[in-house]
Amino acid sequence: MPDWAREVRERLSSLRLPPAREAEIVDELSQHLDDRYGELIAAGMSPEDAARAALRLFQSGNVLSKQMASLQQSHAAPPLTPGAPTGHTFSDLGQDLRYAARTFWKQPGFAAAAVLTLALALARPPRSSASFTACC
């Protein structure tokens, strides 16, 4: 059985499809090619000729990619990795703050302990900070 998925995937590689959507399209078009292939085999064609004939369902040149390029799904934003820099200082800061807020929201006890510790440490008078230095 020819590797239809590879044929389809190659033609989609220049697009920015979300991985799950790309997998669906590969599945759907592979099924179509497989249906045609099976039909030609049933009609008495050799497997090699049937595979070649099925692939002629694609036009010359990467028409699939060109036709798909104008679709919204072909321009998905790259997946956001927590902590990965975007290259923009302010958007990185915003991203970090949102990530911190989400993390704190998930662990409110930890968040409260962290905030309290910081508050106590910052509120201590300078003399006390000297004692910290002495003992540690």
Binding site: I25, D27, H32, D34, F58, Q59, Q67, M68, L71, Q73
Partner: protein, 117 residues
């Protein structure tokens, strides 16, 4: 879509009617892509053929517009298939496109058939 040997005009006519063809076939019942391409080919007497790389982008475009909706259907012992059905807004578009197409064909027929009437 390929078929009748004629350059630009035929190509444009077919391109303009492609949405109408798909919506009409899906109006009857949900179908998958391969069934759509077979039906277009057989019902047109082999005059109209969709290449795989034109058919699916068109289906995805119609889906993005909200005119059709694709759903994966799994049956035991078979690979899953994506069936498409027309949505309510797709039916409204289909009715408009049918009307426009019929008016256009009628107008062309009146002009081109005038001398023989």
């Amino acid at each position: 879509m390929t078929g009748i040997k004629a350059p630009a005009l035929d190509r444009e006519l077919k391109k303009g009617s492609a949405e109408l063809l798909i919506l009409s076939l899906l109006d009857a019942r949900p179908r998958h892509g391969y069934e759509l391409s077979k039906l277009i080919h057989t019902r047109s007497g082999g005059q109209l053929t969709f290449h795989i790389d034109s058919l699916y982008p068109l289906l995805y475009r119609l889906e993005e517009r909200g005119w059709i909706k694709g759903t994966w259907v799994e049956k035991p012992g078979e690979r899953r298939r994506r069936f498409y059905r027309v949505t309510a807004s797709g039916r409204r578009v289909l009715a408009q496109q049918r009307q426009t197409w019929e008016a256009f064909v009628d107008a062309v027929r009146r002009v081109t058939g005038g001398e023989h009437a």
